[in-house]
Amino acid sequence: MTELSQIRNFSIVAHIDHGKSTLADRLIQSTGTVKDRDMQEQLLDSMDIERERGITIKANTVRIDYIANDGQAYVLNLIDTPGHVDFAYEVSRSMRAVEGSLLVVDATQGVEAQTLANVYQAIDADHEIVPVLNKIDLPAAEPERIAEQIEDVIGIDATDACLISAKTGIGIPDVLEAIVTRLPAPEGTRDAPLKAMLVDSWYDPYLGVVVMIRVMDGVIKKGDRIRMIATNAVYGIDKLAVLKPAMVDIAELGPGEIGVITASIKQVRDTKVGDTITHERKGTDDPLPGFAPSVPVVFCGLFPVDAADFEDLRTAIEKLSLNDASFSSEMETSAALGFGFRCGFLGLLHLEVIRDRLEREYDIELITTAPSVVYHIYMRDGTMTELHNPADMPDMTHVEHLEEPRIKATIMVPDEYLGDVLKLCQDRRGIQLDLTYAGSRAMAVYDLPLNEVVFDFYDRLKSVTKGYASFDYQMEGYRQDNLVKMSILVNDEPVDALSIMVHRDRAEQRGRAMCEKLKDLIPRHMFKIPIQAAIGGKVIARETLAALRKDVTAKCYGGDATRKRKLLDKQKAGKKKMRQFGKVEIPQSAFISALKMDS
């Protein structure tokens, strides 16, 4: 139990690659929290994918003991939050669990879109913010200019920014002192009923579900009976610990403290980030504000390349769900792709991470269908249903109107690429909300339909700006628009896995592009194949794949019989990579490639 005045809780806000994880590593190392010999890069990012991509997916925390220049002992709790917009809700909860933030900006790069989105979250949570300029050891560093930019763009005072190099360790002691002297101590009442926020949870193969909590009021002890207000479930606490970052048991946690509990909780699904934990008896009836269950916004189909892997895929998805409550799945059957799962994700990164993990950790080759957003369908009978899969679109005659999710996108880009970025946003039905300059960088804010962004928007943005643009977004709710389901017919048969929802005005263009793409992706057959895009019964684009005219071995004599037989075996193997659709074989790769937009 630590006195409130001796506690500082903080998070680190930064753009990818600006040095958040490295700074965390240095803070842990320089305070002796982890022995040098146990140190490994990006200590808090425990998943392989996190280390590889340099991103944080799960929130992590570490408790640092620090003797400050005033001679007193402090407990510093760092919550390392996910930096990606897909996890915006999780970020917002982590932010509510701490009182201050370090804003890390690369002194050679400046403020990026992601920095902005996260710093606004910190400001929303009433954080005290300490700007930290990293990489000042690099020749290209311009700390004065970047400090000015922080003041211009974000509007916080950067005159006392810490100048550091997380890599070499320069300035780390200043950061530790700033945490103690500039960030506020938490508030809370020891004698009040227990009120703790569920910050995060994960599945540990030895301990079961581990729940990270921040105590607001009251005291929690091992053996306590607790109740989670949103789920109304009651548990007995088996273990109470703090993370240093390894788990160290502790007798109790009081106001302002951050730690973890285990309580024989079976599934991560049973724990809701943002929920309020209190005592079963004499608990509070007043939950913490801001709780919202997480909702998937992007859906796609995941099918095993080899149909024989379906059961393995089911098992793998079940295992991943244990540790990720925000990822949803239900079985799906596609005429083209066989048995698979329709899965829901918090965003595109989340989708990629899950897909990567399925392929990598469970060794299952997957076909991923084009991502789709959730549409709201308002039926003529007054009901509303959610559409997760374009293939399930009801007959338009029963539909009153459709609404699609919109986002507010913030894009920061060097001047010279601005034209291309504005054109890209316009092409994707964007509405410009704001355009401002900070030095030679422009900041464009657009209202965009999410469905125009989920597919290859980010790839296109990176490509037109040679990687210099940064992008972030937040959900802005639903809005009605003229949306239709476009079907693709190959040899006059609809291919369900290629159906997409599209704006009516863009349908011809998309349809033409998809037909042209498919014409290149489907190999020639013995007969000519019409490839059509249609809305309802009306064909809006058409291409014809000519029939195969020549494929024959000119010479085949006695010495070639063995070789021909081996070639046949190879062809059989190659055929497995195709999906039979009516009389037509479509290569698996076509299901995603056909939807990519080149311009």
Binding site: V552, C556, G559, R565, K575
Partner: protein
Amino acid sequence: MPENWQRAGFGIYIHWPFCAAKCPYCDFNSHVVDSVDQSDWQTAFLSEIKRYGAELPGRVVSSVFFGGGTPSLMEPQLVGAILEAISAQWTLANDVEVTLEANPTSVEAGRFSGYRDAGVNRVSVGVQALNDTDLRALGRLHSMSEALSAIKLARDVFDRVSFDLIYARQHQSLSDWQDELHRALAMEPDHLSLYQLTIENGTAFGDRYARGLLKGLPDEDLGADLYFATQEICNAHGLPTYEVSNHAKTGQESRHNQIYWRSGDWIGIGPGAHGRITVDQQRISTETALMPSLWLESALTGIGESKRETLSAEEVFQEKMLMGLRLDEGVEVSATKDPRINHIKINELSDIGLVSLEHDRLRVTPDGRPVLNRILRDILTDG
């Protein structure tokens, strides 16, 4: 009904692996060397013939084929000794076909009568093109006039003469080829082998192609047009297509090659030669060492084979289809639905006129022949 191997004849293939020069398109087992001790090779060939004679007694030889490489570099005496050894082991059919592949240089044409006296009754002349520019591009050592006089001489010397042409060459238009084929037919051959130029890996053309330096090759559409024009012109001249790339007057088909396509038995002697023999109801595939020196050594010291395996019933069936459907006559298939072939596909392909299945005989039609590889894949793989 007897098995294929009993009906389709028994052939002997002799491989002479040496050439005066390597052609840039050729992926056959051929080697260029300074000198060859033909007496060593004779000993080796004879030893192998004797060995097979002991293993396969009582067969009637319907064909002997000297292929290569360039067998017209063999001394006529060597060819004679081999044929003598063969007739010492087996009975020769009354109408035995003895073919030798020859290049039309004047030197080789000079040996024609020697080969005839040794017992060769059919030559297959590697003409390849009927203009000097293209002959040079194909790396050939003969001129067009040499080719024309070699064919003339061959017709005087041998009972049966065939020659080869390569088409779909670089920068060759449809009318170029039609004109060239008409000139070839004007020489009144009774058999023609007409091959579309194929770029093979591991050849000089293959390397050039990979580096993007082999220009002017026809696209798929022109390739198909060239193929159909070839069929049409040969048919009109009384040399119908009896196999994908082979055309003959009725009765002048290559009996030897038909053994391959009809899954008969043949033995393969010489470096890189393959064989198929049926012993105790089992079909056996044989292979030999590719390197001439290795094969020579193995044949001289024991057995000239490097690999021998018994084919499974499935493999035998696959070969029967892969080889047999090249022939216009097609292959016999069982009337009850054979589970090894995809009958749904056969029906589909039949509906669009690419194959026919009548009276238990599956045939690839003239329209199906240029896409034979795909037809084979479709009907021999499931689903």
